[in-house]
């Protein structure tokens, strides 16, 4: 393991405490930091300053893409490449395409939601410096962890540690970068 520092992590005991602490970290002017929680915390998005997630747009794009591709496919298959008269019906009419294209729109949009979520979160990622920390395992249990990255311009091993302790963080530890 190299000596490079990934950041400093501090533990908190409750969602209320971590929310207040996050407000103070932001207030102190840090930009490269994150909060790790066992479940989504109401109000954290605003504190972190996140705008509406892009996942919805990815889903819409794939859903709409699937819808119109299937309309095109049906036109190509039944009205262009393989013309076959059934009950004197027209070769192509929009209503007949609706059901399959609607169903596959749902399929496309669902893949968009899952893959969009994974892509924007940069997953799958089978290794992460934080996952090597023993105490970090508690984040999926009952601890709430704030990590301030060493790549933050304001990061300073002593000052940042002081801040994390002042806002109530316990077990402040250095996270080593292993890349």
């Amino acid at each position: 393991m190299s000596d490079k520092v990934y950041g400093l992590m501090a533990e908190f005991d409750s969602p209320g405490a971590v929310l207040r602490a996050a407000e103070q970290v932001r207030g102190a002017g840090y930009r490269r930091w994150d909060v790790f929680t066992p479940f989504p915390i109401h109000g954290l998005d605003q504190v972190m300053g996140y705008k509406n997630s892009l996942v919805g747009w990815v889903s819409l794009a794939l859903g709409a893409g699937a819808f119109f591709s299937v309309v095109g496919l049906i036109w190509y298959a039944n009205a262009y490449d393989n013309r076959f008269i059934v009950g004197g019906k027209p070769m192509f009419s929009p209503p007949m395409t609706f059901v399959p294209s609607y169903i596959l729109m749902i399929m496309g949009a669902a893949f968009g939601a899952l893959l969009g979520m994974l892509g924007i979160n940069q997953l799958p990622r089978l290794h992460h410096p934080l996952l090597a920390k023993k105490r970090f395992d508690l984040v999926t249990r009952d601890k709430f962890i704030i990590v301030i990255g060493a790549n933050d311009q304001k990061f300073c091993a002593t000052e940042t540690r002081k801040l994390l302790e002042a806002i109530g963080g316990a077990n402040v530890e250095i996270v080593e970068d292993c890349e």
Partner: protein
């Protein structure tokens, strides 16, 4: 007025104890305790009851199922009871039945999420698993019912040397897409919901094998605010999409019937009829699974009596809807003045040997369901288990009445015939039941059966604005 005084004021106006909402978790002892309790079953030893249930299911799934399947595929549809004029028999009855079982799972999980019902967090995962496995069983039937299963690829729009394309004007074609989409989307939804819980099991794992498996499944989930932010958005989008599927898949199965000109099928009510019937049947299966697994897996604090009471009430609501549809169907058959319609409906209840199924449908789906009006019944788990089993039998009878009851005597008396299932029909059904329960038991034992992270978020300790969640003076500053 200060925030503290505000809180006091709220407490003073709180409803009396017996009118308050039941808490989502009973005897809640904190987030760590929740994690321990909820992962305990997936991490513990395999209990005896599990083997007792698993072995017969696995026998049916790995012996009876493949034997019946391969014999039918190698020999032909003739091994079943299907024959002119009953070209659809148990295979289609069971197909609709399995699709039906699937529906309530999506309804419970997705629709109750969109309506922000916190009690769904404890039963949602079980419902989603039921959906995934039931759709897989359903999808099998049409695939082999076509007779030459090795030509199934004809149904997919693949460029081929025959120069042929599927005919998209046919609702049977729509079924292919509907069922496959349902299987894919419900699996995605189920899997995505489990990612944070795989991370829980990864971080708790004590052996290297478990750690490696759950690390792969969790895909590097760390639970950062950014990940949750995108995850929540994706989840709500998937819930919306799954809700659309609740209303489309069974409607399309219904369209298979109502576009045919057979008396008893050719009715505009069919898509809705099939959706409601599917949901009702699925709630029956949910009652069976919940009442039995809550005790067997030691989940009494999570799947509380209040949750089961709510599922029972939803069962009653869907039961009343299906009763209304039966009434309308019979009324329209009479009101249409069509002699064939009247004949078919008369014979569903007063003719030939199939009338027993007609009366089972009325006796169970209409009469037995009314028991759920009583709080005494809704709070008795044994009763609910029996009612759940009966609803599944009642809904199976309904599908038999619809499929066989309309086909065996059509417009021309010279065409009439009788339908009898063969041992291969029965065997395949037993095999799918076995496969379903085998998969379900594997899920219950090895995967997080309750959404751990969702449950934590639904507790007072998980709410940053609640005193137990660390809020100071009635709310965070």
């Amino acid at each position: 007025m200060s925030e503290l005084a505000n809180l006091e004021e709220l407490k003073r106006h709180a409803p009396p104890a017996d009118l308050r909402r039941a808490p989502v978790i009973e005897g809640n002892l904190g987030l760590g305790w929740l994690t321990d309790k909820l992962s305990a079953f997936a991490e513990g030893k395999v209990p005896l009851w599990w083997w007792i249930a698993f072995l017969p299911a696995a026998f049916a799934a790995t012996v009876i199922f493949p034997v019946c399947l391969f014999y039918q595929v190698f020999t032909g549809v003739g091994v079943w009871g299907n024959n002119h004029p009953d070209m659809w028999g148990w295979d289609i009855v069971n197909f609709i039945w399995w699709v039906g079982v699937a529906h309530a799972g999506t309804l419970i999980s997705a629709m109750l999420f969109l309506t922000r019902q916190h009690w769904r967090t404890t039963i949602g995962r079980m419902a989603e698993a039921m959906t995934v496995f039931a759709v897989a069983m359903a999808g099998l039937y049409p695939a082999i019912h076509v007779g030459r299963a090795w030509f199934d690829w004809f149904m997919f729009p693949i460029p081929n040397s025959n120069g042929m394309w599927p005919q998209f004007k046919s609702p049977l074609m729509w079924d292919v897409f509907a069922v496959n989409t349902y299987l894919m989307v419900s699996s995605l939804f189920w899997f995505m919901g489990m990612i944070p819980d795989f991370a829980v099991l990864r971080d708790r794992s004590t052996t290297r094998v478990r750690r490696v498996i759950f690390s792969f499944l969790a895909m590097g989930w760390t639970g950062s605010a950014w990940q949750w932010h995108n995850y929540e958005k994706a989840y709500v989008v998937l819930c919306g999409l799954c809700t659309l599927l609740v209303f489309t898949v069974s409607s399309i199965v219904g369209l298979d019937f109502c576009t045919a000109q057979i008396a008893g099928w050719h009715a505009t009510i069919f898509p809705l009829y099939f959706v409601i019937g599917a949901v009702f049947c699925g709630f029956g299966m949910m009652l069976v699974l919940l009442t039995s697994l809550r005790k067997l897996c030691g989940l009494e604090s999570f799947i509380t009596r209040s949750h089961i009471d709510k599922v029972a009430k939803l069962t009653l609501v869907s039961g009343l809807l299906i009763d209304y549809i039966y009434l309308m169907e019979i009324f329209i058959a009479w009101y249409s003045g069509d002699p064939y319609e009247r004949w078919v409906f008369g014979h569903r209840f007063f003719g030939h040997s199939y009338m027993v199924f007609g009366w089972m449908m009325i006796g169970i789906n209409v009469c037995v369901t009314q028991l759920l009006w009583f709080k005494k019944v809704r709070s008795n788990l044994a009763w609910l288990f029996v009612i759940g089993v009966l609803i599944n039998i009642g809904m199976w009878s309904e599908r038999f009445v619809i499929v066989v009851g309309s086909l065996y005597q059509d417009f021309l008396p010279a065409n009439w015939g009788v339908y009898h299932p063969t041992i291969w029909d029965v065997g395949l059904y037993v095999g799918t039941l076995g496969a379903f329960f085998m998969l379900y038991l594997l899920f219950v034992k090895f995967l997080p059966v309750i959404a751990i992270s969702e449950v934590k978020g639904a507790t007072p300790q998980g709410d940053p604005h609640h005193p137990l969640g660390g809020a100071k003076k009635g709310g965070h500053s």
